[in-house]
């Protein structure tokens, strides 16, 4: 790979790459992010390669394994270029037909297209699928076009032109000003203005400064950063180098969770490629600016994603947070000025440099500019990663893009901000999503996890779940966090077991106050948010658990029982056979009865009972009816003539 010594040489290289690419040549792209791997994209890939050979098309059809497309519910996803025909949920057995019909004969295969659930219309092009149509995929969009292990793909789309522009046409101060003007706020959770942080770091005393990519994405349910780092690592790298130039840093770190092996691998490859081209190293683009970067892997601790903890981990010590009365931008890694930003934040920088701060500031709201990538998951039809302009309503995200709640269930709440966030109920669905609005509602933007919950979700259980998570993930150093969470978890566990008492809610609120006021770091300070927001919006659920020993959503195991309605049971034996505890008695024409002593509340019978019978019920807050006497359990089948 040739070393590029100037912006002009970069453009030459780019022209060369593009000249070898025929935009009309058929190309199959297959989403190969980790989620699609899990759905079987590797087998599909093997099938494609084999079939291309088999049907004699080697060299006539390109095949590209790309990063995550975002529509994870429907993966693996294939897009056929240049027409941009989009096929969903592809299995290896579909491939021969795709090659022979769509590639060879340019015929669209209807059954593989997206079907609109209400109109039943088929949609051919990816961009017209409602899931994508309502998004603004500025940062994430390139994922579908590039093979993350190919720097040429990134260059073909204009990659590294922002870096060339910054280094050759702008001074570091000008780059800084541009980012400040854009009002880009950190995408990792804090929402702190990136430009201000850069400036603070730039002005901090000291010659050695560090820039850091925080790819320790730990919020359960959020995987945007992973998909971005796996699918378009160069965009993050380019943003990082630009930032380093603006700040005056020559050394960077990319801290990646070890749970993301593909991201670690792809970012490592990207770094090697960038080095070969001279985008990393000495005298980048002949500007005199030097910069190197190292990958540092995490080892499985949520708290180490907190900026000061992450820096401590980079030093090789236990990744516990430090007091940030003096900002890490002034004293960070090895007490040197360190500017840490999230993956998505860095990836947005090249766009701002290329298109300008004014363009960026046009999108979004007054306080929150640009777009944000959310991971829309949980009880929602179109699970996946969505990028939308700030200011879009929650309703639009969940219904227009997300396709609403599956199974005709009722929406209950959407949880944002991970363990530091809160649950937002139906009355707030028309909220315009941005940093400040979410905070006002008692939640926060966080890294972008958006978990949709329906009527079958117990909000007390949700609070308990988050506290359980935090009790394991807290570093445990300070009393308010460690002990506060310990006691709050105890109370919530008791409540969910039917052992809650009067005064528990008030005690939770009191402990929340102390945890919030006195904790050393943001994990502790925000630990009470899930508890407080669920008490605020769903107090009736707490009271039902405490006063009536009833779980309104039928979730808390100790408070529910499974019961087979003898009026509805058709003795089909399906639940009886599937029960892992052998707790169901009955026979072919004998009504099934659950032995409550043996029942482990796994819910298998509930899932297994055919919907047309619907005989298994969940009961809470009232005693289980005694089983009907044995004699009454025989079903008299109507003879065929009487029907």
């Amino acid at each position: 790979m040739p070393r590029i010594n100037s912006p002009a040489e970069l453009e030459e290289l780019r022209k060369g790459i593009l000249s070898k690419r025929d935009p009309n040549k058929p190309c199959i792209t297959l989403c190969s992010g980790t989620a699609c791997h899990a759905s079987g994209s590797e087998e599909v890939a093997a099938s494609i390669e084999e079939e291309i050979k088999k049907q004699g098309l080697s060299g006539k059809v390109d095949f590209r394994k790309t990063g995550c497309h975002g529509f994870c519910e429907k993966g693996p996803i294939i897009v056929i270029h240049p027409e941009k025909i989009c096929y969903l949920q592809i299995e290896p057995k579909d491939i021969p037909e795709i090659i022979s019909q769509t590639i060879k004969e340019e015929k669209v295969i209807e059954r593989l297209l997206y079907t609109d659930p209400t109109t039943n219309e088929k949609v051919v092009h990816e961009s017209e699928i409602p899931f994508y149509k309502n998004q603004e995929r500025l940062v994430f969009g390139s994922n579908g076009e590039i093979d993350p292990t190919s720097i040429d793909d990134y260059l073909a789309l204009g990659g590294y032109s922002a870096l060339a522009k910054a280094l050759s046409q702008m001074t570091p101060e000008q780059v800084l000003e541009e980012v400040k003007k854009s009002n880009l706020r950190g995408r990792g959770g804090g929402g702190f203005p990136a430009g201000r942080k850069w400036e603070e770091c730039r002005n901090a005393p000291g010659d050695m400064k560090y820039v850091i990519v925080n790819a320790d994405e730990g919020d359960p349910g959020a995987y945007m950063d992973r998909s971005l780092l796996e699918g378009n690592p160069h965009s993050v790298l380019e943003g990082l180098i630009i930032g380093a130039y603006a700040i005056g840093s020559h050394e960077g770190y990319i801290y990646v969770r070890q749970e993301y092996p593909l991201a670690v691998e792809n970012v490592g490859t990207a770094i090697e490629q960038a080095k070969e081209h001279g985008f990393l190293g000495e005298n980048i683009f002949g500007s005199g600016f030097d910069f190197t970067v190292k990958v540092h892997r995490g080892a499985g601790a949520f708290v180490s994603g907190e900026s000061s903890a992450l820096m401590t981990a980079i030093e090789g010590r236990v990744g516990e947070p430090r007091p940030k009365y003096i900002h890490t931008a002034i004293k960070g890694v090895r007490d040197r000025p360190s500017c840490l930003n999230n993956v998505e934040t860095w990836a947005t920088v090249p766009l701002i440099i290329n298109k300008g701060a004014d363009w960026f500031a046009q999108l979004g709201t007054q306080g929150s500019k640009g777009t944000k990538i959310f991971s829309l998951v949980g009880k929602v039809n179109n699970t996946g990663l969505v990028e939308v302009p700030m200011g879009i309503t929650l309703r639009d995200i969940i219904y227009k893009i997300g396709g609403g709640i599956p199974g005709d269930k009722k929406f209950k709440a959407v949880q944002t901000g991970g363990p530091s966030g809160g649950c937002i109920p139906e009355e707030q669905l028309d909220m315009k999503v941005d940093f400040d609005e979410l905070a006002k509602a008692g939640s926060m933007m966080g890294s972008g996890g958006m978990i949709v919950m329906d009527e079958d979700t117990c909000m007390v259980d949700v609070a308990r779940y988050f506290l359980d998570f935090l009790s394991d993930e807290s570093c445990g150093k300070c009393v308010p966090c460690r002990e506060g969470i310990r006691q709050m978890l105890k109370i919530l566990t008791n409540i969910s077991k039917g052992e809650g008492k009067e005064g528990d809610i008030e005690l939770l609120e009191e402990l929340s106050q102390v945890t919030r006021d006195a904790s050393l770091c943001a994990l502790g300070r925000t630990a009470a948010n899930p508890v407080l927001s669920t008490i605020h919006y769903f107090r009736d659920e707490y009271e039902a658990h405490i006063k009536e020993k009833r779980c309104p959503a039928y979730v808390c195991k100790a408070l529910i029982s499974y019961y087979i309605d003898p009026e509805k049971c058709q003795a089909c034996m399906i639940c009886l056979r599937q029960c892992p505890a052998g707790a169901i008695s009955g026979g072919k024409n004998q009504i099934h009865v659950i032995d409550q002593e043996k029942c482990t509340k796994c819910g298998t019978c509930f899932e297994a009972c055919p919907p047309r019978f619907g005989a298994v019920k969940k009961i809470s807050g009232e005693p289980v009816p005694s089983p009907i006497p044995e004699e009454a359990r025989m079903i008299a089948r109507k003879s065929k003539e009487n029907e």
Binding site: A35, P220, Y223, R297, G316, T383, I451, P580, C602, A608
Partner: protein, 161 residues
């Protein structure tokens, strides 16, 4: 008997472990990276390895001990032949992963973080694998099982010896 087996595991891999540690000689800030490599190579961190790391990287043993117990990636005891991971991320949780976990615990007899006495299965919970569309997710030896229900667990685990 088991002790002998454990000691053997430590000494036969010692060559590889030495190689890993030598790469980072004197660089105390590489502690976590070194331990990750040893864990990956050896599937656990024997005491002898930690002593060596302490000497070569010039890091006090109590710090290494804290790091090795603080981070989930590390195991101070041998892990089983098959690693089961059940995702407990929020999306999987509300789709019912706790019930899946209960079933796995019942069948294997171990709780998260433990390995069974035959060194067959090790069980871990993970907080979000990023496959939320397929939740609840269970991974066994790197193979993903999506939309898992308790009844499926028996079927899946039966295949491993």
């Amino acid at each position: 008997m088991k002790e002998e087996k454990e000691v053997k595991t430590a000494t036969t891999s010692n060559g590889k472990i030495d190689q890993i540690i030598d790469k980072y000689q004197g660089d105390s800030s590489a502690l976590i990276q070194v331990l990750l490599e040893i864990q990956s190579e050896n599937r656990w961190l024997p005491k002898e390895a930690l002593d060596k790391v302490s000497k070569k990287l010039e890091v006090p043993l109590n710090q290494i001990q804290h790091v090795a117990t603080f981070y989930k990636a590390f195991s101070l005891v041998p892990r089983g032949r098959h690693e089961i991971q059940v995702c407990m991320g929020t999306a999987c949780h509300i789709r019912g992963s706790p019930r899946v976990l209960d079933r796995v615990q019942d069948l294997t007899g171990i709780r998260p973080g433990e390995t069974d006495l035959d060194l067959k299965f090790s069980l871990e919970t993970v907080n979000c694998l990023g496959c939320c569309a397929m939740g609840p997710v269970m991974v066994v030896d790197g193979k993903y099982h999506g939309k898992t229900v308790p009844a499926q667990v028996d079927e899946v685990l039966k295949n491993y010896d």
